[in-house]
Symmetry: C2
Subunit: 310 residues, 2 copies
């Protein structure tokens, strides 16, 4: 597996650079970096960045291409990598809801990754930790309804917003809902619902989200209210989640504690006094660049490589 | 009314200094300022700060005493002001849930203010804007259940935390739940439930909160999910709230837009797709030092003064 030929497309961005670091840390040695013309020719950890043209990707001869570029760039470039024989793991929203494209959180629906037709989609950075928690709870007691409000760091809006927060903190000391709108929701809220339903294979799951940007550098947090079909005490929920892969129980999850770890931190598991029955409330935090994006895509890639037996 | 004799106790703190400014702006001229020994003798807007001793408060000869000191200081000092003939409006948690002490948001239950026995309590800074929204919705359609997650600025934790955020922003770029614990809840979460129930006179209202400190200087925001007894469309809810006192409808409420205004900003009013029936979601923001604390107490004082006809 360490000999698999992997291309990282968008290697110089906030998520791409974490992808490069994690690949190296996990022993992948045969990695090529692609980025826009602007970054081409620069060096990343001794790897010369190549320009991500359709032709370059089609002729790259790689087994896997991990895309962390914008949605429109993914729509343009991913088909070329696939035509060149690679399996593309795409972190943008371009393919997530497309029929026939698996949307995968390995801990929750890893088996679906193998049903691809050249493209596997990586979910939104809030959907990934949320489904890491909802999946095991659904298996234990059935999900009836879910509400979530988010506390999303500026790194989710790109490297430039991180620079602004560091350079002009007061300008950023506010909340924002800096997403596009999809009717009366942010497109982030619509994504969380649609993607969670697809990953959990619960197409009718009643779920609603309120997404908020907070002046934190790295790490997204989520306040979650869950109603289950069967009774599940906070203690039993903690046991279920404590045994769940990639979940780590803590007293109070914070973005700072989650940053640069691979885990989804979960805590504050308690009864939701507002629920008619079987209500739980909890709080989670996760590194949105790591498990929320780069690591999840690498885990998908590694799943595929195990079967492909490169 | 402008001739009423008013004492502000804790006049040099984050809320006390806003109280002093608002009293001046609203035409109150007969104001005395009290604070701890440390601040006594200093001058606030030309008013020499007096030391808040039990004796000084008992002999102050004021009509009203507005307390913005900690809970234990309120427990100690408020009875002396009352013994001296003042009506105390207390912003701490000391008396809020005590039988016989009205807990008042003038727009919601102003009439209750007159039922006092010397003390009227001012609610928590999250409870005030929340009930400004819940009160009119309850009158319109009946409240069935309420969930709220908060985004609370550091000014709610005191003036020193504001200084830290300004001086060392990176140290504060994290979320926190920096309250005391009341079982498996923060005491802030328990307060929101207990106080909202008392103000709305719905002692069994199913309501739960998750309270979170965010690195914002001034202004608290709340993501709210509401289920009503009768159907209420988002459009009708907006009409109800648009006509409600102290509420201002905006597209996206933010702490910065709310700061230094008297209004509770409300927006994002939409259907809660997770609710079984009659579900609404909305977002609100409010200046926690102003309407969330100082202004609400002054409004209580002015209500009382109109009846007392000083």
């Amino acid at each position: 597996m360490p000999d698999a030929r992997i291309a990282v497309v968008g290697a110089t961005g906030a998520v791409g650079s974490v992808t490069m670091r994690l690949l190296r840390e996990r022993g992948h040695r045969n990695v090529r970096a692609f980025a826009s013309e602007r970054s081409a020719g620069t060096s990343l950890d001794g790897i010369v960045v190549e320009e991500a043209t359709p032709e370059a990707l089609e002729s790259a001869g790689v087994d896997l291409a991990l895309f962390s570029v914008g949605t429109s760039a993914s729509r343009e470039l991913v088909p070329h990598a696939v035509r060149g024989g690679a399996v593309a793991v795409d972190k943008s929203a371009a393919y997530r809801l497309q029929d026939g494209v698996p949307l995968v959180v390995p801990e929750v629906n890893g088996e679906r990754a193998f049903e691809h037709d050249g493209v596997v989609a990586n979910p939104n950075c809030c959907t990934i930790p949320l489904t890491c928690v909802l999946g095991p709870l659904h298996a234990a007691a059935g999900l009836a309804r879910v509400r979530v409000s988010t506390y999303q760091s500026v790194s989710g809006a790109g490297a430039r917003r991180m620079e602004t927060l560091l350079a002009e903190p007061q300008a950023e000391h506010d909340l924002a809902m800096d997403w596009s709108w999809d009717g009366d929701e942010t497109d982030e809220e619509a994504k969380i619902r649609a993607e969670a339903r697809k990953i959990l294979e619960l197409p009718e799951l009643p779920i609603s989200a309120t997404t908020v940007r907070v002046p934190v550098l790295v790490g997204h947090a989520e306040a979650v209210w869950i109603e289950t079909e069967e009774p599940l005490s906070p203690g039993d929920a903690a046991s279920v989640l404590g045994a769940a892969p990639s979940v780590r129980l803590v007293d109070v999850p914070t973005p700072r504690a989650a940053a640069q770890t691979d885990d989804v931190l979960v805590g504050r598991i308690r009864v939701d006094y507002a629920a008619e029955r079987n209500g739980l409330a909890l709080f989670l935090a996760c590194d949105n660049l790591n498990k929320g994006a780069a690591l999840n895509a690498i885990q998908i890639a590694e799943l595929l490589l195990e079967r492909v037996a490169v």
